[in-house]
Each structure stands twice: as C-alpha cells, then as structure tokens.
Amino acid sequence: MATNGEKVLMRVTRYTPGEAMQFHKTYELKFYGEMTVLDALNEIKDTQDGTLTYRYSCRMGICGSCGMMVNGKPVLTCQTNIKDVTHPVRVEPLRNFPVIKDLVVDLGDAFEKMRSVMPYMAPVKKRLIEEGEYPQTPAQREKLDQTSQCIKCMLCYSACPVYGMNKNFVGPAAGALAYRYNVDSRDSNDSAQKNKRMDVLSSEKGIWGCSFIGECSTVCPKRVDPAGALQRLKVMGALHLGKKAAQKLIGKE
C-alpha cells in the first residue's frame, strides 16, 4: 500500500524489436493522490524514459486500449490504482500475444477471430428506410445487453490458458460477440448467416476448446461473462449439429 509522497518501484518489461529476449527495467517514482498504473507509466515516459512504449486512450476504462499484465494479472491500467497493488509493481505486456515493442502487443489474431464469427446482422426480411427501424422490445434487448458491453480490451484472451496453448480456439471475446448476435431478435433464427456463424463456431477453430475455466469472466472489466456465453454457445452448437445431421438424414441440406 502506498501513501502520498512515498517512493514506488515499477518493474517494467521492455522489448526492443529484433532482439531475441525481453528485459526488465525498474523505475522509481513518487506516489501521489489516486495515481493509477497508467498515470505512473505516463510519468515515467514524461520525466524519465521517453522510449517507453505502450497503448492508452480514454483513461477511463471505456476504450480497452491500456490492457497490460500488472503483478501477473491482466487489467486495464487506467482502472488499477497503485495503492491497491503490491510493490514493487510488475508491469508486463498482455500474455498470449506477440510483443511488438515494450508493452505493445499484436492483437491481430484476436481481432481476426472476432471477424470470423460474422459480428453483424443480416435480417431475412430487410426493411426499407421508409418502413423505419427494426423494432425490438425491452425484453429482447435485455437478452443481448450483457454481451454487448464488450470493449475488446482482450484481457480475457490473456487470462485464458486454452487460448495460450491452442490458437485454434476462437476465444472468449469472439464467443461473447457471436452469442450477442445469435440472440439478437432482429436477426432471424433460420437466417443463412446465423447458420454460417454456427458452422464457424462448431468447427475446429470454434468454441469447443473451451473447458470452462472461467478466468475470462473474472478478469472482464465490463462483466460481460464470456465464459457463460461460451457455455450457452456450446448448447446452441450441439443443437445446430444435430439439426444439420437430421436434415442430412432426411435429404434436405
């Protein structure tokens, strides 16, 4: 626990592109007020080491840019107060992703997985502009509310040992996103797109790698509960495969 004016040590993992190994650098700074880990990194960059590289944007837990490992846990650094973590504070890049430089990681694989689940609607019966919007009751909206809160911070991918060991696994955020669109009432249950989405989710690059560890839901800063979404998708996936088998049996593809 830090008090105002107290010296704080930050042990930051650095990486220079082209080098084989990461290295660690320790910085000392004075703790003040409600200093967050992101504030500390900004202070280091401004006053001690301008080469320190990391991502951030909104500084208020909504953009998802500042995700990093702090003392071994994936967190949003703008939401992690220095006085709430043990010292010295270890800051590392997000786990399970290639490191580009210092604390900046390549999230391309995770975003590719999110694109693969077709995160958009294709209503069977399109409405013209003149016909107005696609109506939805509050109860229908509530079904997708929780999973629509995802800010794509990728802390869940960092927390998931399955994704760490098997890059074929679609991952928690992509699973939650797929569930959000699957339960959207504005998309028909029998649409070709929804069937295609279920085909992707049921494939070897789909959801079946999940063994319900649950750590993704624990670290999620927006309480999306991707673990719950993935279990529900498994039920949907099993029903989808059963339906496909039955259709094949009766000769109707």
Partner: protein, 131 residues
C-alpha cells in the same frame, strides 16, 4: 516478435487455475477407481486371485482399490458439484443469479435423494427410519 506466453506451472499462479486443474483431475481419478474395480472383479470371476501370483498381487490391488474408493468418492463429489454448477451457466434461456442458485441446490438435493434410493435398492445397509 517476442511472444508473451503462459509461464510453466501456470496453474500454480492463481487459485482459480489450481481449482480448475483439481476439477479436471477428478475425471481420471474416477476412471482409475473403475479400472482397478473392474480388474479385481474380473480376476475374482476367473479365480485368478486363487493362484500363487494372484495371491501375491491381490492384496496390493485391494489396498489400491480402497485408496481409490476414498479418493474416487471425493473426486466424484467435486466432479458432480462442479458439473451441476456449470449446467446452470449453460442454459440457453438467460437465468437470474437467484434462479441459478435455486437450480444448483435443487440438482444437488435431487442427486442425494436418487443416490439414497439407489443405495437402498442395492440392499446395502444404511441407517434409515424403520418401516
């Protein structure tokens, strides 16, 4: 690019990872119990344990079975309880937290009642109210 990966013995870094691994290990422990049980029952039906080698091996196998019975019993308890909790999360109909708890405890209760019925039906002695 350097890859930031999971450390060796990753499951020791976090209590929830450790609990997950314990949960997963309950499966092989239950299977181990059944394998030892089947070996012993098969040996008994074929009178293998009456032979000289059988007499030497049987006590070791029976001790292993007793050990696995105790470990397997607790493993099946953990396995079942965690499975019942997981099923409340997998419902395609969104369930409120209170209802998830209700479903979980109802499943445990129904499981206990059914287990007692099975044990009674197998004519094993358990202290029940006299009839």
């Amino acid at each position: 690019m350097s890859l930031s990966t999971f450390p060796p013995f990753w499951w020791t870094k976090n209590i929830r990872y450790a609990l997950y691994l314990i949960r997963e290990l309950t499966g092989p422990l239950i299977v181990g119990y059944f394998i030892i049980f089947l070996i012993l029952m098969t040996g008994e039906s074929l009178s293998i344990w009456d032979s000289e080698i059988g007499e030497a091996v049987a006590p070791f196998l029976f001790c292993t079975l007793y050990g696995f019975t105790i470990v397997g019993f607790f493993a099946s308890l953990i396995h079942s309880v965690t499975w019942f909790w997981a099923t409340t999360k997998a419902s395609p109909i969104p369930l409120s937290k209170p209802f998830q708890f209700f479903l979980f405890f109802s499943s445990i209760f129904a499981w206990i009642i059914f287990s007692l019925f099975v044990i009674r039906a197998l004519h094993l002695y358990i202290p029940l109210a006299s009839h």
